[in-house]
Point group: C2
Chain length 404, copies 2
């Protein structure tokens, strides 16, 4: 008799963004005249840049002719892409990462969700609280998280590392040493960053304790300040303890195109076993590569033209972030993030809960954001807005918020 | 201290197609004058058809403009694609499958590899022997297969269903009832098909025993004969016991474009739990959708123009299959498959082992095929050739084989 994976049943009812979607739809149906502005889900709004579009057209033409047609991609991804990533993202920033330590994939979400698979089921995980839900949910599915406490909103076996204004949203070392440590900087949802010195301490901590750091750097392109590491491999010893995830989604507007990559240094061994080998085996068995045309599009992001265009797009979003930050400050809000990240993390006014503020903002200003508590209990009384909107909408949203 | 998933270490050394690649490279280096023809790995060689190319260009243009740009895709895939799949692949063939029972993905390999995750770790699996390696390997990684016996080439907890000429390469019901049953028809590697009556017996068997059938129909477009089911949902009761995997890879040459889908009927419950719900949760947590432009390309496969062009491509490959079949028969070989599938399964001459014949074919005819034993012990003394080559190469390969 077939049986289900009962770990799935431990996941709390529904997904944060589905709940938000339902509430917004219900509001729009009841108020068809309202012009709702969405600054909730982290999806981009600007079109792909010309260099990327050109690469897509060109690669598509290649697929139309027998002599240039491409079938299955190489397991790790095409060399033309891995070479340029190794060069521009790592070597140029002083990181010792080679092209064959890069696994091209269809996005950081998939890789962040799947990476736990190569580790033992009884490994403990540590996550920031608040946190991007995929890290915990994928471990719940694998049976690593124990039971869910409805009241506290926590899983019994997960080591939560509270992040709030008191620690600048950067976690302290937990009391109990975790086996796997998820870190994401620039952070989703708080927009916080970690200094290079502090990240070095985490790397040392991991090496000392034989823990592995799973480093999500999906938002590194938004870093504007000095002494904020773009890659964990800027730290000494990271090749022995860290896996890094990167994404083209927010860097180059690829949310609908799907491309990312994961870095596993060949020096990274656990119990003497190479994690590179395990991930290569997983990649080869359960994955079949990102589309050739999309890998060519990714390559175009690194061309001179592409880099300039992509920087302009990021500058556009960061101008939104600045508008939101300054607008909210002027309106008396306590705000965080938004300087090295496309996320603004604000404290809800007058002690409102995250969901109370969600309703308040939706009904009074017709603006949609994300309740902080949706990312974990320490997100309660916080709220996330994103800078990925259209400029006019962002300005309009701000003026409505100020008028509330 | 981090620990690895030790199940990974139970996987035998290396992957079949890597071994083949190494041998071929070594031969080519030693014999640079040899013109090696590859009829081994199942990758297509013909370019994407004009309707698909046109759709890719059009969708790319949409991505270049703010008003038509698409970010994250809907969780299940775009409705325009799911609707046309439900209509053309299922309703037109009398199968009661609706658009919201279709999960669009980046390929059947990923789905076939990941599906086991929603089932209990102690479920037993049954596979045909020989078999496409992904089914077993993904279950080994999850700890469902016990230990590997190097000598016999079998995992201790897997229920193997021998398929050879004596049963027309269609499995009998195993002695012990499995919880999960992997079936693939038209079959890779044997090219065999199952009749609708026989598949109905398997559906009845699964329903009686509360087993789930995982039905890989990636090659259904190659079916040329009557009374061969294109979908398991042609059978009564399949909605209560079967999941079906489909691919655009071999249907429309999408191996380098990546698109497939999985069908989970809403009636399919295990222990009272909806498998649709579990898979939706997995899809939402660990996956982020196939690229918009690729989903538009998939839609184009179903247009009148697209269908005609894709049928021509399949006819081209099947003409190759016919040439191989008839050529080998004329040369005195015992051959199977190749009528409803792009694979030709031949018995090695003079009792040679699969690998002996591999070396013989490579050195005497400079033709690369796949040793049957690579798909399982009952593949020993068999050999797979594919019809995906170029016509001229296929003809040349045949004439060399005949001359051996």
């Amino acid at each position: 008799m077939a049986k289900v994976n009962r770990n799935y049943l431990k996941l709390p009812g529904s997904y944060l963004f589905s709940d938000i979607g339902k509430k917004v739809r219900a509001y729009e149906e009841a108020h068809p005249e309202a012009k709702v502005i969405r600054l909730g889900i982290g999806d981009v709004t600007q079109p792909l840049c010309p260099a990327v579009i050109e690469a897509l057209h060109k690669a598509t033409d290649e697929m139309s002719s027998k002599d240039t047609f491409k079938g299955y991609a190489p397991d790790l991804g095409y060399e033309f892409l891995r070479n340029v990533i190794a060069e521009k993202d790592f070597k140029e920033n002083g990181c010792d990462i080679s092209a064959d330590e890069i696994f091209v994939s269809d996005g950081a979400k998939c890789d962040c969700g799947n990476i736990q698979e190569i580790f033992s089921e009884d490994n403990t995980i540590a996550v920031c609280d608040p946190v991007y839900p995929v890290y915990v949910d994928s471990n719940v599915m694998a049976g690593r998280c124990g039971d869910y406490d409805d009241v506290r909103g926590l899983f019994s076996k997960v080591i939560y590392m509270p992040c709030d204004a008191s620690n600048n949203f950067v976690p302290e070392f937990p009391e109990k040493v975790p086996d796997l440590i998820y870190l994401c900087f620039p952070n989703n949802p708080t927009g916080a960053v970690i200094t290079k010195d502090r990240l070095q301490e985490w790397v040392d901590y991991a090496n000392k304790n034989h823990s592995v750091i799973l480093y999500d750097a999906a938002y590194e392109a938004y870093i504007s300040e000095e002494n904020v590491p773009h890659s964990i491999y800027e730290c000494e010893g990271a090749r022995e303890c860290a896996i890094e995830f990167r994404s083209f989604s927010k860097t180059a507007g690829f949310t609908g195109l799907r491309l990312g990559f994961t870095v596993i240094p060949k020096d990274l061994k656990v119990e003497g076993v190479s994690l590179w080998n395990l991930w290569a085996r997983r990649h080869g068995t359960k994955y079949n590569g990102a589309p050739y045309i999309v890998q060519r599009a990714g390559e175009a992001v690194y061309s001179e033209e592409g880099r300039t265009q992509v920087k302009q797009q990021i500058a556009y979003y960061m101008e939104n972030a600045k508008l939101i930050l300054e607008g909210l400050k002027a309106a008396g809000y306590e705000v965080h993030g938004g300087v090295n990240a496309p996320y603004i993390w604000l404290r809800t006014p007058q002690g409102m809960t995250s969901w109370e503020f969600f309703d308040y903002l939706l009904t009074k200003a017709n603006v949609v954001g994300t309740p902080g508590v949706g990312f974990g209990p320490h997100g309660e009384n916080y709220f996330r807005l994103t800078a990925f909107g259209d400029r006019d909408n962002t300005i309009e949203a701000l003026s409505r918020i100020k008028a509330m």
